[in-house]
């Protein structure tokens, strides 16, 4: 067990490459960036998980020849393409914002972490190419070729996550460069790419993608189930999406534990913020609820589970956990925001895991879906909740990184643009995204209203589907 007192070594700080300037308030820029991520990340979840889901159903179709599998795979792939299209543009906004909002971050460190984005560019390309071929290739390419063109979509979805998370992991755990006299020296791009935060963040996010997309899709079919649509098409939609989500939810418990232990080592101040631990001590309890009172340096009105935080963070009930006091007040993140987000994420994650366990046990023991309408009502709620958990997870890790843009190396305020009028930009962006969300919701509603047989080109196939 490392001594927490030694953990917080002040890394040498860098001077911004574009020169010294009066540090403006980075709040507007952070808001814009956070908003753009909050819009983009849920879309990414579909990019990660949906291709695997529709390919799975496509595989079922190839094995059985049943038309409802084809109709479902085709429908899902079309929705996937539309969501991908929106993701293309929201992803473009993000890459613009790196330069528009954080020019000095890019100028100072773009070379160190840029390699991951170079690779991301390639995988994004592959994804865009094959999703188009796959979706427009229905009934036009040979069966085998068509199925195979779906495989690169899944792989590039993973590769994309890998590359982007590599950068985020690096921001949280910067490595692969030296600092001498305030200058970044000797960048080692591969070391930066394969940083110590990469793996747990990647797996955590990748699995979260399946949870979010799986539960949202399952929710659509759960609501159809409640309205009496229980034909093979709707049933398959429900079972497949829910199975992906349920398995991912249970796995996420283990991944979350791993991620938590990594944070304890690489970012002890962040861990202290997750739980509002003011002073370094051993045998730390896990406090649920309540709020952190900075004056008193404790969480008030929370429910304590003794030894639990030490146990979770170090797998040792008496382990010492570093407190917020290990760093100056100006180097601490806003504790209540981080803590509330973290607790929300963990709480929702637990609920989703319970719901998943209920489904999996029923399925395993009785070979059928649960019958209670409450299960389906819960499923409808599970999608939006998973989305909230996802965003809260990102708030935990990103607000938990503050006040640093590059952990303990560069402050967010040093990276931000000195260009004015960010408020205007922020307001415009809010309007645009609200419009975009409304348009997408409208579109997906319209799609779900269409009968499944509309997906089948061949009249005989359609009739088989309607009869089944």
């Amino acid at each position: 067990m490392p001594d927490p007192g030694l953990l917080v070594v002040a890394a040498e700080r860098v001077t911004a490459a574009l020169g010294e300037h009066a540090a403006p308030d980075a709040l507007e820029a952070r808001r814009m960036q956070a908003l753009s991520f909050a819009v983009h990340i849920p879309i990414v979840c579909f990019g990660i998980a949906f291709p695997a889901m529709f390919l799975f159903v496509h595989g079922l179709y190839l094995r059985t020849g049943k038309p409802h599998y084809k109709a479902l795979a085709k429908r899902w792939s079309k929705v996937s393409l539309m969501i991908f299209a929106i993701g293309v543009v929201t992803g473009t906004i993000l890459s613009f914002e790196f330069g528009l909002l954080w020019p000095d971050f890019m100028a100072t460190f773009g070379d160190v972490f840029g390699l991951a984005f170079g690779l991301e560019g390639i995988s994004f390309f592959v994804e865009a190419i094959f999703i188009a071929i796959y979706v427009y290739g229905w009934d036009r390419l040979s069966r085998r070729t068509h199925f195979l063109t779906g495989v690169p979509i899944v792989i590039s979805g993973f590769a994309g996550s890998f590359n982007v998370i590599a950068v985020n992991g690096w921001m949280n755990n910067p490595q692969g460069f030296d600092v001498a006299g305030g200058q970044v020296r000797d960048p080692r791009p591969w070391e930066a790419l394969l940083n110590d935060n990469l793996w747990h963040e990647l797996v955590h996010m990748y699995v979260a993608g399946y949870i979010v997309a799986g539960f949202i899709v399952a929710g659509v079919y759960a609501s159809a189930h409640l309205r009496g649509r229980r034909d093979p098409y709707h049933r398959t939609g429900l079972v497949v999406a829910l199975s992906f989500a349920a398995l991912a939810s249970l796995a996420q418990g283990l991944v979350g534990d791993w991620a938590g232990r990594q944070v304890a080592v690489s970012q002890p101040v962040k861990l202290a913020s997750f739980e509002g631990v003011a002073r370094t001590r051993d045998s730390v309890p896990f406090t649920i609820g309540g709020y952190y009172d900075a004056q008193r340096g404790e969480v008030r009105y929370g429910v304590e589970i003794p030894y639990m935080l030490s146990l979770l963070a170090y797998h040792d009930p008496t382990a010492t956990v570093a407190g917020l006091e290990t760093v100056a007040e100006s180097d601490r993140p806003p504790v209540n925001t981080v803590r509330f987000a973290f607790q929300t994420m963990a709480g929702i994650g637990t609920l989703l895991a319970l719901l998943s366990a209920l489904f999996l046990i029923t399925w395993w023991r009785r070979r059928r879906l649960p019958r209670s309408p409450w299960f389906y009502r819960a499923l409808i709620l599970a999608g939006p909740l998973a989305l909230v958990a996802l965003i809260c997870g990102w708030i935990s890790t990103e607000v938990g990184r503050q006040p640093w843009i590059v952990y303990e190396t560069m402050r967010t305020t040093e990276a931000v643009t000195t260009s004015d009028n960010l408020e205007v930009g922020f307001a415009v962006l809010v309007l645009v995204y609200v419009g975009l969300a409304a348009a997408l919701a409208w579109l997906l509603r319209r799609l779900t209203a269409r009968p499944p047989e509309a997906e089948l080109a061949d009249t005989a196939e359609q009739q088989r589907l309607v009869r089944s």
Partner: protein, 355 residues
């Protein structure tokens, strides 16, 4: 050598984006100018059908350019994006509107929905290339100093060179799109559309050529170093090559050889991009930062070049496969005038009704 290779990647990406992405924006231009719902329905149907399978892949070239730039030339990237924040922000918004409206228009169920989405798509298709072109003009005319928003936030893009290049970008896209759409119409068996796009291609070709000459005159008085670079040595050779390719393309369109015309039009754009790079060489930010001063550490460039080359091993065959399928018509959807298809279904895969 490594910085030059990275600039080569960037210029490859810029050229590909200007040709492929530019044609998609140009298609939006023709969508905008196609006339009322009924009269323009046929043109819009062809635009929708041609762009659908490729516009996303075409757009990724922009991302490619950005990531290579910030990795290989981080200081230049930070300086460019902070000084040119206004046109780039507007372009980014336009990109959202263009992409989203296009993707959603395929699902429009009534003519009113299609009008709103179509207008959004078409208007932003004109705005984006103009503002991206204006940003290029700010860079090429030496208005971007090194520093965090160190240049003039307005004058850096609202100046003669920027406006000229912005307009030229819009026109070039329209020209490319007309050439490509004429070929696509031929494949779709729509002779009246072939003629319509052929006429547009010829008209746009002449106007674009004139605008290119006009831009040279503007640049002469506004950005003399750029003008000197474009009118001497290798720069001049590239400009002449571009002019010849452009002229030849007009001839090809005239004689209805649209397959070759695609290549000629792309070559004209590629040549002018090369000319710009040569004219500006060895400066990254003219008068401020040379290529070597602005380049990242060799270790970074080596890793970047290696991974891009390895990436190309996957990417080039994939792109080739996509465009081959498209040009062979194997991903083609059934052609339908846009005003005829306000049913909630994607193009072409609707079961054929018995007539």
């Amino acid at each position: 050598m490594l910085p030059e290779i990275c600039v080569g990647f960037i210029m490859l990406g810029v050229t590909a984006y200007a040709v492929l992405g530019g044609a998609d924006f140009g298609a939006g231009f023709w969508d905008l100018t196609a006339g009322g719902a009924e009269r323009g329905g046929r043109v819009r149907g062809m635009v929708q059908r041609s762009m659908s399978p490729v516009w996303e892949a075409n757009h990724v070239w922009l991302i490619f350019v950005l990531v290579i730039t910030w990795t290989a030339f981080p200081v230049a990237f930070g300086s460019l994006f902070s000084t040119l924040s206004l046109p780039l922000f507007v372009a980014a918004l336009g990109i959202i509107f263009r992409g989203a409206a296009f993707a959603l228009r395929g699902q429009a169920a009534t003519i009113r929905e299609a009008r709103v989405l179509g207008a959004t798509f078409a208007l932003s298709s004109v705005l984006v290339p103009f503002f991206l072109g204006a940003a290029v003009g700010g860079l090429a005319s030496g208005r971007v100093p090194v520093g965090n928003a160190a240049g003039d936030l307005v004058d850096s893009w609202l100046n003669p060179t920027s406006i000229a290049i912005g307009v030229l970008a819009v026109l070039t896209g329209a020209y490319l799109a007309a050439v490509f759409l004429a070929g696509d119409s031929l494949r779709a068996g729509q002779p009246d559309l072939v003629e319509a796009f052929r006429a547009r291609a010829l008209g746009a070709g002449v106007v674009t050529g004139a605008a290119a000459l006009g831009t040279v005159i503007v640049v002469r008085s506004d950005a003399r170093p750029l003008y000197d670079g474009l009118t001497s040595g290798d720069g001049l050779a590239a400009v002449i090559a571009s002019g010849l390719a452009g002229g030849a393309t007009l001839g090809l369109v005239w004689s209805r050889r649209f397959g070759l015309a695609r290549v000629g039009a792309a070559a004209a754009v590629a040549a002018i991009m090369v000319g710009w790079a040569l004219a500006q060489n060895p400066d990254l930010l003219p008068g401020e930062l040379t290529l070597d001063q602005g380049a990242a550490d060799d270790a970074v460039l080596t890793a970047l070049v290696a991974s891009v080359l390895v990436g190309f091993v996957i990417l080039v065959p994939s792109l080739w496969y996509l465009y081959r399928l498209v040009l062979q018509g194997r991903l083609d959807q059934e052609y339908e005038p846009l005003d005829q298809r306000f049913r909630p279904i994607s193009a072409g895969d609707r079961p054929r009704r018995p007539e």
